[in-house]
Assembly symmetry: C2
Homo-oligomer: 265 residues x 2
C-alpha cells in the first residue's frame, strides 16, 4: 500500500513542515520506499516531481524539504508497490491536461480486476491500476461535459456531482483512497483510511509524529489564512485530526472542508 | 527569444556538462532570464522541471547541475518572454500524454497571428504561442492516426512524415525552431538558428564556451555510446558543430542524426 498527502489553502502556502514528516515514512519510519512524488499548482501551472528512489534518500525530496514552494493545492504520494514495477512511469501523482487545466491524481489502495474500457483520449503510460483509474476518471469527465470550450469549464459543483458517482463506481473494485485536483479544489475519496485537519486562526504550535520538528504556525501565517491538510495517517500528535468515514467523498476549497452534496443515483 | 537544448542518445546519458553551459545563458552570459525548464525521459516516464526564476539562480537548476539524471532523450529551454507573461504555466518544455506515451515540446521563436482552431482534446494551459503550436501538433497527429490502440502506435517514420508537413505549416506564421520527443526519437525543425554535434568514439575533451569547465568524454563513455546534442548556439568551442539550414527538419534516433525523408506534398 502507499500513503497520500494533500494540501488545500486559501493563500499560497509552503508544505515543507508536513512534507518533512511525510517523507520520513518513505523508507525510514515506515516501509513506503518504492518511489514517491509531489505536484504543486502554481497559478495554472504545475511543478511535478517524481522519483523512484525512496523519499527519505532522494536528492529531489531533499530539495523540496529545503525550498519553500508556495501553492494552494498540493498532492504527494509515497509508494509501496502492489501493482506495477518500481519505475518512474509508475510513480504518483499522475498529471493530465483537459479543458486547458492541469489535473493531478494520486491513489492509495489496490483495485482488483479493474480494466475499464479506455477508448477515449486518456491512456496509461505505466502499468498501475491507479493510472488506469485516473484515465477512466478523466475519460468519463470528458464524456460528462463534452462540449465545454476553455472558457466554459464545468464548475466545482458540477465536477463533484460526477466525481462522487465515478469514485464510488471505481471503489467497488477494491480500495480507492484518492486525491484529485484541477487547481481550483481538492477532491477526496476515502475507502479505508484518510484523515484531515483544518488549520486556521488562532494558530498553534504543531509537532511532527515522525520527526523531531515543531512549528509555531502563528509565526508564519496571517489571521485570514486557512489551510487543510489531508493525509493517510495524522502527521502531528497535538492537532484535531478528523478521520474520513469509509465511502466518504469530500471536496476542499480555499482551505475548508466541504460536505459533498448528495448525488441522486 | 529563447534558447533550446536537446539530447538524444543510444544509452542513458547525463546532461550535466551541457546543461551547465546552457543554464549560464539563463541570466549570466546571456539575457534569457524569464524562466526555464527541462524534461528527461526515463523509461516511458518523464521527469519535468520548470521554474520561472532565471536558470542561473534557480535552486532547481542547481540540483540538475549536481544530480546526474541519465536519459536517452532530454529537452531543455531558457526563456526570454515574447508572448505570454512570466508565469510557471508559460515555461517550456510542455508535456502531454497521447497513445499512452509522454510527448515533450519546446519552441524558440515568435509566431505572428497564430490562432489555429483547437477543437480536439489538447488545449493550452498558459498563454504562449508555443503551447498553442504544441496543442495544434498533437491535435493533428491524433487526427492523422485516429484509431491507434496503445499497442499500435505509429512508427517513427510515420510520425516524421506527418510532423514534417505540420512544422512547415506552422513555420509559415513566423520563427519556429522546435524540439519534440515521445521518448523514441527527437524531432527537430529549424527556422533560423539551431546546431548539432554528434559525439561518438573516439571521444575527446570538450570545453564549454560559457563556463570554465572541460570534460574528457573518453573517461565517462564506452566505445559504443552515441550522443547527439542539439542547441541554439554551440556550447563548446572545440567540437564539430553543424548548423541546420533554415526550413530543415531532422530526426535523431539512438544518438544519430537522420535525414528526414522527402514528404510528398
Amino acid at each position: 500500500m502507499c500513503q497520500l498527502l494533500g494540501m488545500n489553502c486559501n493563500t499560497p502556502t509552503d508544505i515543507v513542515f508536513s512534507f518533512t514528516g511525510f517523507a520520513t515514512r518513505g523508507g525510514q519510519t515506515d516501509e513506503h520506499k518504492d518511489g514517491w512524488g509531489i505536484a504543486f499548482f502554481e497559478g495554472k501551472g504545475v511543478r511535478h516531481f517524481v522519483d523512484h528512489q525512496p523519499a527519505v534518500s532522494s536528492p529531489i525530496a531533499q530539495l523540496i524539504k529545503q525550498y519553500p514552494i508556495k501553492s494552494k493545492n498540493v498532492i504527494a504520494h509515497i509508494r509501496k508497490a502492489t501493482q506495477g514495477e518500481v519505475m518512474l512511469e509508475n510513480c504518483h501523482p499522475f498529471v493530465r491536461e483537459y479543458w486547458g487545466q492541469q489535473w493531478v491524481f494520486a491513489h492509495n489502495g489496490d483495485l482488483k480486476e479493474f480494466y475499464p474500457t479506455l477508448d477515449g483520449h486518456f491512456h496509461p503510460v505505466g502499468t498501475t491500476d491507479s493510472e488506469r483509474a485516473f484515465c477512466f476518471l478523466m475519460q468519463e469527465l470528458a464524456r460528462a461535459f463534452p462540449h465545454q470550450a476553455k472558457d466554459e469549464q464545468p464548475s466545482v459543483e458540477q465536477l463533484q456531482a460526477v466525481l462522487q458517482g465515478l469514485t464510488r463506481q471505481i471503489a467497488s473494485f477494491g480500495t480507492f483512497n484518492m486525491l484529485l485536483s484541477n487547481g481550483q479544489a481538492l477532491f477526496v475519496h476515502c475507502s479505508t483510511r484518510l484523515h484531515y485537519v483544518e488549520r486556521r486562526f488562532p494558530f498553534t504550535t504543531a509537532t511532527l509524529s515522525d520527526d523531531d520538528l515543531a512549528v509555531d504556525f502563528a509565526q508564519v501565517t496571517t489571521p485570514q489564512d486557512k489551510v487543510a491538510v489531508i493525509v493517510t495517517e495524522p502527521l502531528t500528535n497535538n492537532e484535531n485530526w478528523h478521520a474520513f468515514a469509509p465511502g466518504e467523498f469530500r471536496l476542499f476549497v480555499e482551505g475548508s472542508a466541504m460536505k459533498a452534496t448528495e448525488v441522486k443515483p
